[in-house]
């Protein structure tokens, strides 16, 4: 007998993490499906994952040049790109995973599998997009003949940091969106607002080194986990030319871990009723 399943109202499944392992192929297949379908439905397919960040980068670069924003002594285009790519990864992963459960409601009501696979595989699709769009950065570095330092080797660590932030917040918002469809209207606002409070168009040093800004605002600013992610990306890519505010960075990591714990917990708590209410 391979396994024993006990179903009770309190705990639908004690083997959840083991099941997740058994269904690991589904992460791949759902992500693969989304990529394939997008490729078939759109004319330029995967090029979208390059075009969108490219346009955003151009705008921020232009604005930065126009208003002569501080660039911490690094080529401005590099500063902007190093921030836009992770930000776009996070914002699409966040908003796509928010709607992922509702979009896959036909699966949720007809088959069993650990539900957590759906939003996470959506994040994986966005991760693939990110890796493709990373080519932009490589091209820019080559064009500028910019030689990154050893710090670039730590980039995967910060990418993991960004991914975990996306997963934590994505799980939370996806579960909430099943129960309260209002979140559909809140999400675009969160994403837009997030762009203003994250150091994409500006650099964190402009906040932390400013004497005009009171300490409590600096603290609130560093509660945004994307501050840590973007500062980390800039640090890796510019070869350590950017100074990371260590306190703020630790706060960001703390918030990410908190988001992840709360996200997984809330998702696990609510997922057994998904099929009833979706």
């Amino acid at each position: 007998m391979s396994q024993r399943i006990v179903i009770t109202p309190e705990n639908a499944n004690k083997n959840y993490w083991k099941d997740l392992w058994n269904y690991r192929g589904l992460f791949y297949f759902l992500a693969w499906r989304d990529v394939r379908v997008r490729y078939k439905q759109t004319v330029i397919g995967i090029a979208w994952s390059v075009l969108r960040p490219l346009l955003t980068i151009s705008i921020f670069w232009f604005i930065g040049w126009l208003f002569n924003l501080p660039d911490d002594g690094v080529p401005r285009i590099l500063m902007v790109t190093a921030a836009t790519l992770p930000w776009q990864f996070f914002s699409t992963a966040f908003s796509e995973s928010a709607g992922s459960l509702v979009a896959n409601s036909n699966l949720l009501t007809k088959v069993y599998f650990p539900r957590i696979i759906v939003p996470i595989s959506t994040v994986i699709v966005c991760l693939i997009d990110f890796l493709v769009s990373f080519g932009i950065l490589v091209v820019i570095m080559i064009a500028l003949q910019f030689n990154p330092g050893w710090q670039i080797l730590l980039l995967p660590v910060f990418l993991l940091f960004a991914t975990l932030t996306a997963i934590g917040s994505g799980l939370l918002i996806a579960a909430l969106n099943v129960k309260f469809r209002d979140f559909r209207y809140i999400i675009p606002f969160i994403v837009q607002f997030g762009l203003y409070i994250s150091p994409v168009a500006f650099s964190s040093s402009a906040i932390f080194e400013s004497e005009k800004i009171p300490a409590w605002i600096k603290f609130i600013y560093s509660l945004n986990p994307m501050v840590g992610v973007i500062d980390g990306f800039r640090w890796c890519i510019t070869g350590g030319n950017i100074v990371i505010n260590q306190t703020a960075f630790l706060i960001s990591i703390g918030i990410t871990i908190l988001l992840l714990v709360v996200g997984v917990r809330y998702f696990r708590k609510t997922e057994k009723s998904f099929a009833d209410i979706i």
Partner: protein, 415 residues
Amino acid sequence: MIKVENLSKEYIIRHQTANSYTALRDVLTDKAKGLFKPSSQETKEKFLALNDISFDVQQGDRVGIIGRNGAGKSTLLKVLSRIVSPTKGRITIDGRVASLLEVGTGFHPELSGRENIFLNGAILGMSRQEIKSKFDEIVEFSEVEKFLDTPVKRYSSGMYVRLAFSVAAHLDPEILIVDEVLAVGDAQFQKKCLGKMQDVSRSGRTILFVSHNMAAIQSLCNRALYMHHGTLITDGEVEPVIREYLKFGAQNAGINLDERKDRSGNGALRFERIDFLDDKNESVGTFHSGSSNTIRLTLNKKNNQSLSQVVASVAIDDAYGQRITHISNEATQQVIDSIHSDKTIVDIVLPKLPLKDGQYSLTLFASSNGEIMDWVQNAAVLDVESGDFYGTGKLLPDGQGNFYMDYKYNVTQLS
């Protein structure tokens, strides 16, 4: 193998909202109102989809689950498949479960047949290795080799169903849970599917199978559960359980109207019975969409005078009390010239039932020379179960309309 103890599943029906999900607004306003008065509980109604069900299934058992619409069969399978969680009770399952509640779950129309085999297989719980090793078998069984690289949106509905069933049929579980999937597809393929399921059962697997098709249950199962309104009525050998179900259905189908006092009209003629017959004129409890059925009205003349220009009509209301249609021999110019005998049987033949699955209420009306003789409101409830109206195995998508229309496509390409 499977042990179900005191299983209940409760749904809360909210009356004020049409949506099952909550709007944040409602929660906030409810909370705000709650500050001033107790929360409005009266708008919620509890509904027991499963009511204290217990049974055991041994290894190798092939259990057929029968019952009418809304009996809780599908809910039971969903709880066993871990799609919804129970409200009370406990289930213990030993072994790997595969459930097939719908054919082609997760199929994506843009992807090719080949791609969908892998996707669907993964969704049903197969590993990539497993799918690869069974790929050829699946393709062969589905008979769609030639179109493997065509997007499934270009498939005919028959091909689609065949491919979808083939993937599911090659799952290798210890316990197979199947819901009414054999109701789709053409007759030949249905036979093939049934054969495949018999192979599976012969190899000692356990099967739980919901169907309205008694012949399929009889040929496949060695045990049957009869459910009604969320409770388990009988559990035992297939033959007696089916007999009980049919008996109960038939009792319910033929409705004696003599005792109805709440009727109007002059009483020269009364509706005595209403019966629902299938195409072999046998009494049935339910109709299926697209099938050929007969509504039989038995009329009883109450005095010695003969009646002329008799109209007998049936009005059909849906579950919300909305009148859907009206059947009358006046419309078809088949008004009965005269009735001499005491007992008259009027058969209304419905060659292809366009009603969607659901419950319908019938109102009966009879007149002679325009004078009302009998009028019985909500005389009977007609149960309609989903059926293969188009003969393609495709049903109306959920929420896409209330009835089946007969139509044909003609395509002309202008160059």
